[in-house]
């Protein structure tokens, strides 16, 4: 999996520090951006997961090529949409 990020953009965030400013306002600025915080919800759902259930998705060609991407190339699919509907007894397992 480590090669997935081989096309990243290097270490701009450490070499380009002149564009950043140190400020005491950090917590205020972050709070100003949005009152929403998804961390609790994520933690809650993660705690209910069962090992190996759903892992197949991570092995699909779609997921893998979405991860790697082609940096805005013409055929690059930057969006991966996963859809699931409620079962009403019609949707049987393949």
């Amino acid at each position: 999996m480590s090669q997935l990020f081989s096309n990243n953009i290097g270490s701009l965030n450490t070499t380009n520090i002149t564009n950043f400013t140190v400020t005491d306002d950090r917590p205020n600025i972050l709070a100003w951006l949005s009152p929403l915080d998804p961390r609790l919800r994520h933690q809650d759902i993660r705690d209910r997961r069962v090992e190996n259930v759903g892992e197949w998705l991570l092995q699909t060609v779609e997921f893998k090529s979405w991860c790697v991407g082609s940096e805005g190339g013409k055929s690059d699919k930057a969006v991966l949409f996963c859809y699931g509907d409620p079962g009403v007894g019609k949707t049987y397992i393949r």
Binding site: P38, E51, L80, T91
Partner: protein, 216 residues
């Protein structure tokens, strides 16, 4: 109950993907931001607050606050009563942070978003991809919004159905049965019956929904 189940199956997959991406991002120059929609909180979940929430997580992962962001924050303090960041400003900032780190954005249950807000959000994500083509966006939702996603993010979407496979259901049932606290009522014959019958007879979504519901 089925509504609940649908939310759960989608968010289950979202949380799995988010954690997988976080592991991949660790030690790499990449960062992950996520958002889970909740239909009960539609009023607070405006396109600006959602995009702001994503930006907040990305900025949180940087060592320092970008100067442009500090300036935007200072500027709004002069407005009467202050005001939240505008979508156009947030998109500019998102573009800026994405040049520092490869950016993954995950949005769960986008169909839970009010239609007009959803249109605005998807269009904003489309704009972000134009500004920052390397950004990766993961979205879950019901299949009926697939055409809308395709229309608003034209040419940029791959889609996958996330119905769990038979193996998933068996693994899941085993785990739930093992955690059953009323073990006297369960014997090996009954357990074998359950593992044999449920994956064959009942919709996978239904199974996930009902087993989830029994969790504390």
């Amino acid at each position: 109950m089925e509504e609940k189940g649908r939310v759960l199956i989608n968010c289950y997959v979202s949380s799995l993907v988010i954690d997988n991406l976080c592991v991949q991002a660790r030690g790499q120059n990449a960062i992950v931001a996520c958002f889970y929609f909740d239909s009960a909180a539609q009023n607070e979940q405006t396109p600006a607050s959602i995009l702001g929430c994503l930006l907040k997580q990305l900025v949180f992962g940087l060592k320092d606050i970008p100067e442009e962001l500090s300036k935007a924050y200072e500027d709004q303090k002069n407005a009467i009563g202050g005001q939240g960041p505008q979508i156009s400003d947030i998109l500019e900032m998102l573009q800026l942070t994405s040049t520092r780190k490869r950016t993954f954005i995950c949005i769960d249950a986008v169909d839970e978003c009010a239609p007009e807000d959803r249109a605005k959000l998807l269009d904003s994500l489309g704009q972000l991809l134009q500004l920052s083509p390397g950004t990766r966006i993961f979205v879950t939702g019901r299949s009926h919004i697939l055409p809308e996603i395709g229309r608003r993010l034209a040419g940029r979407v791959t889609s996958v159905s996330i119905s769990p496979k038979r193996d998933d259901i068996v693994t899941y049932l085993r785990s739930r049965l093992a955690a059953d606290t009323i073990s006297d009522a369960m014997d090996s014959t009954l357990e074998a019956d359950i593992l044999k019958k449920i994956p064959n007879d009942i919709s996978e979504m239904y199974v996930m929904a009902t087993t989830f519901r029994k969790l504390p």
